[in-house]
Amino acid sequence: MAITKSVNGPEAACDGVKSGMTLMLGGFGLCGIPECSIAELVKRGVDDLTCISNNAGVDDFGLGLLLQKRQIRKMISSYVGENDEFERQMLSGELEVDLIPQGSLAERCRAGGAGIPAFYTPAGFGTEVAEGKEVRDFNGKPHILESALTADFAFVKAWKGDAAGNLVFKATARNFNPMMAMAGTITVAEVEELVPLGTLSPNEIHTPGIFVQRIFQGAHYDKRIEQRTVQTR
């Protein structure tokens, strides 16, 4: 019988999150971010957090909400350019920032979930990203050794999910969510629609439920657009 992961809502889903923990948060920009879990983390007031997320939100949305309340001690990201409060905290030294090439960030999360402690990549060789890292040539090309990333909690957002924790993402809202789901000791998935078990085709599931420990249907999604670019009709 399927293992049931469904919980009542964000409060139950975030049970056990403590100050000082390392969290992963899915999303690229504001696309595919765990909105409801972030709101709950703000409400709980946990701080001293290390947050692994490709971006840091904008001033008044996404991870920006946790930054506003000074709940984040350290950010591990690839691009953080859309957030004034982030800039202020970083330049003042209040916030520690570790910048990682986007592909290495994705692969390090996957490695963390896949039991691969380290791998070699050419990305960042010869740059400050390589400082203190082992360099080794393969096929005549220098590579650096990158280590796996894991987290106490991973928060991901999917389009649809079922009680077994199986997830389906929509369009480019998939991004980092599948890898972070793999890398969390406890992975919390929030979904726009929790569908009955057996509804999702086993062929079309992006994240197998084994990677998810808790799942809930979010009450509301803003899904803000950062750069609304359109053609006029």
Partner: protein
Amino acid sequence: MLDKNGIAKRIAQEVREGWYVNLGIGIPTLVANFIPEGMEVEFQSENGILGMGPFPMEGDEDADLINAGKQTITARPGAVYFDSATSFAMIRGQHVQLTVLGAMEVAQNGDIANWKIPGKMVKGMGGAMDLVASAENIIVAMMHANRAGASKLLSTCSLPLTGVGCVKRVVTNLAVLDIKDGAFHLVERAPGVTVESIVEATAGTLIVPDYVPEMRID
């Protein structure tokens, strides 16, 4: 002298039938507008789409469908979405034939700097380091000089590097330049631009052949 669209137009001429292409933010994004109708080319955006189409019609925009510049986009027939690990597997595994990106500085040995200015706010490298470390074919699209008027084509980069020895070709508002044997080689000059003015605007070593054709931009 070329404007940004002119640079994009010239770079579009480098694109070959059957190529998968990754376009960076800024001028590179414009390249998609100048690919000939019917040419079999697909655009990859590293946040997770292959087969990127034009911006959506007003009212059709979808918060779940964006490009790496966080702009709302559309998907073309045959498009596919994927996660970030798969996206960079495509890039790192050299399945993408061409990367076009902007730069703050390019050095005559092919080094590129485009992510960090010490003392200023650092936005991060995003996918740029993965792209330049892996792509077989990298074209830099940029202005020949920065806003202060200083050359961006240098003997050595002064800014923190994004990648080493990786840039093969640079297209600026003034010229097309190749990088080989530790020097810039002037390949074409922009319409109405003299060889002398390019020499003057280039701080790094510039090899100028006897004849430098003018770009053909229709």
